[in-house]
């Protein structure tokens, strides 16, 4: 299958601390991959390395066959294709909801104002935030902010969306509204890479699950394989903590 992203021997160290140890996997079009694992296993760092918010120490990140860690590659251009949704939303506090979703389009993709606005409104409607275009981020709840952040990322027409624990900073009652948006997105065929602690999402929505432990990919397979017949002891041990 044609892979959008191919990660080869990815290594990341912070000082002497090796956070990612020889990571290998690829992402194909339309896949919804959940990355699970305990805190400190390197899940978020992996995602941040793929988006180049952290500089990988070694290995390759191939985007359609081109290594984006090469110095010749324009990383800003690459980032428009690989969107990111953060745990802490990171909406621009100085802009309202609409401008949050248009500013990247007009300044990075150089789209016209009208086109950018139409696109932003379209995606904001899809995440159920169309009414709030005039609101500033500080006037929204966590779940609303995260839905706007998803619309902002979508408005750039990315090929892959990375989600870094998108529901971890939310009150329990708001987790559902964000997960619903992500479910719809998965159904629409969007390629997604989701670091999550929501086991139900990983089990029911994703097409593939990666279990990370201690900076390595411990197990990689379909949700059935991982949740019903895990091979590794560590995976079993990790999952047993959720089946209470």
């Amino acid at each position: 299958m044609d892979s959008i992203l191919k990660i080869e021997h990815l290594v990341k160290t912070f000082g002497t601390n090796e956070v990612l140890k020889d990571i290998d996997f690829s992402v194909s079009k339309g896949e919804v991959i959940s990355i699970i694992g305990s805190s400190g296993s390197g899940k978020s760092t992996l995602l941040r390395c793929i988006n180049m918010l952290e500089e990988a120490t070694g290995g390759k990140i191939l985007y359609h066959g081109k290594n984006v860690l090469d110095k010749q590659i324009d990383e800003d251009q690459y980032r428009t294709k690989v969107g990111m949704v953060f745990q802490s939303f990171n909406l621009f506090n100085n802009y309202n909801v609409l401008d949050n979703c248009t500013i990247g389009q007009t300044h990075v993709l150089k789209r016209g104002k009208e086109e950018a606005k139409a696109k932003a409104v379209d995606y904001l409607n899809k995440v159920g935030m169309g009414q709030y275009i005039n609101a500033k981020p500080r006037q929204l709840s966590g779940g609303q902010k995260q839905r706007v952040a998803i619309a902002r990322a979508l408005a750039m027409d990315p090929e892959v969306l990375l989600f870094d624990e998108p529901t971890s900073a939310l009150d329990p009652e708001m987790v559902g509204e964000v997960l619903d948006v992500m479910k719809d997105l998965a159904k629409s065929g969007m390629t997604m890479l989701v670091v999550t602690h929501e086991m139900a999402f990983a089990r029911d929505i994703s097409s593939r699950v990666i279990f990370m432990s201690d900076g390595k990919i411990e197990e990689d397979g379909t949700p059935q394989q991982i949740f019903q017949s895990p091979k590794s002891e560590r995976t079993k041990d990790f999952l047993s903590r959720f089946s209470g």
Partner: protein
């Protein structure tokens, strides 16, 4: 004549000079605060720039040298009295370079670069105070470092440092008095002329202080008003279901009471 009559006398006979002095003071203070902000933003921006991972050894070297020079500038001008800087620059340029800076240009240069030195640190603090997530959010949608700064970080920093810019303006209104050492005819210089001519130090000082206070108090009120304007309204209009036609019926969302239902 009693105290009040002497004050009235001063206002009647020297009112125009006092107003001219006050105008000079305000022009210098406003122009120099503005120029100081421009210098401060430029310096603060460079000082918070980290070399990109793709920049070669030469670019890193240049950045390091520029940062060193700017740090030296900030430390020297923050660390010496403005009155001496005024004498140093005004008399220095005429003695060494035989350039005779006019009263206006000398005054504006001195106060601007002095304000710039303070503002550089303020801007640096303002940039550092913005949550790193803001810049990550911008980089993640493909903005360059320059776009991130211009569109996301600096507008928020500017809002955060507005109180400090106001502080600088008010300090400048008062501190232009040290320019009287190079003969700038501003408000303090006028005070000295009046008190010298009439030997009424107490009365002249009272009148001049009142004028200074009116200037600074008005400025601080105006700046507070600008800050409120920058914050925008505390509530927002909720667009109706058809968001593309959101000029039709609007509902009001109230931040304090919450929802519209």
């Amino acid at each position: 004549m009693n105290f009040f009559q002497r004050m009235v006398y001063i206002v009647q006979h020297y009112g125009v000079s006092l107003l001219e002095g006050a105008a000079t003071t305000m022009v210098i203070a406003i122009v120099c605060t503005f120029l100081g902000c421009v210098i401060g933003f430029a310096v603060g921006l460079i000082q918070t720039t980290e070399p990109g991972k793709n920049s070669g050894i030469i670019r890193r070297g240049i950045l390091k040298i520029v940062k060193f020079v700017l740090t030296a500038y900030v430390e020297v001008f923050r660390g010496t009295p403005m009155m001496l800087q005024a004498a140093f620059i005004y008399y220095g340029t005429s003695q060494i370079f035989s350039i005779n800076l006019g009263m206006w240009s000398a005054a504006i240069i001195i106060v601007s670069i002095n304000t710039g030195a303070y503002m550089a640190e303020t801007v640096r603090g303002g940039i550092l105070s913005i949550d790193p997530g803001q810049s990550e959010g911008a980089r993640a949608i493909g903005m360059s470092h320059f776009q991130t700064m211009l569109l996301v970080i600096l507008p928020q920093s500017l809002r955060n440092i507005m109180p400090q810019i106001g502080n600088n303006l008010i300090i400048n209104i008062k501190d232009t008095c040290v320019l009287s050492i190079i003969g700038t005819v501003e408000l303090f210089f006028t005070f000295r002329s009046i008190s010298g001519a009439l030997y009424t130090y107490f009365e002249a000082a009272t009148v001049t202080m009142i004028i200074y206070f009116i200037l600074t108090f008005t400025c601080s009120r105006i700046l507070r008003w600008i800050e409120n304007k920058m914050d925008g309204p505390s509530s927002f209009d909720l667009a109706t279901a058809d968001t593309l036609a959101f000029t039709s019926g609007m509902m009001k969302y109230n931040e304090k009471t919450g929802g519209t239902h």
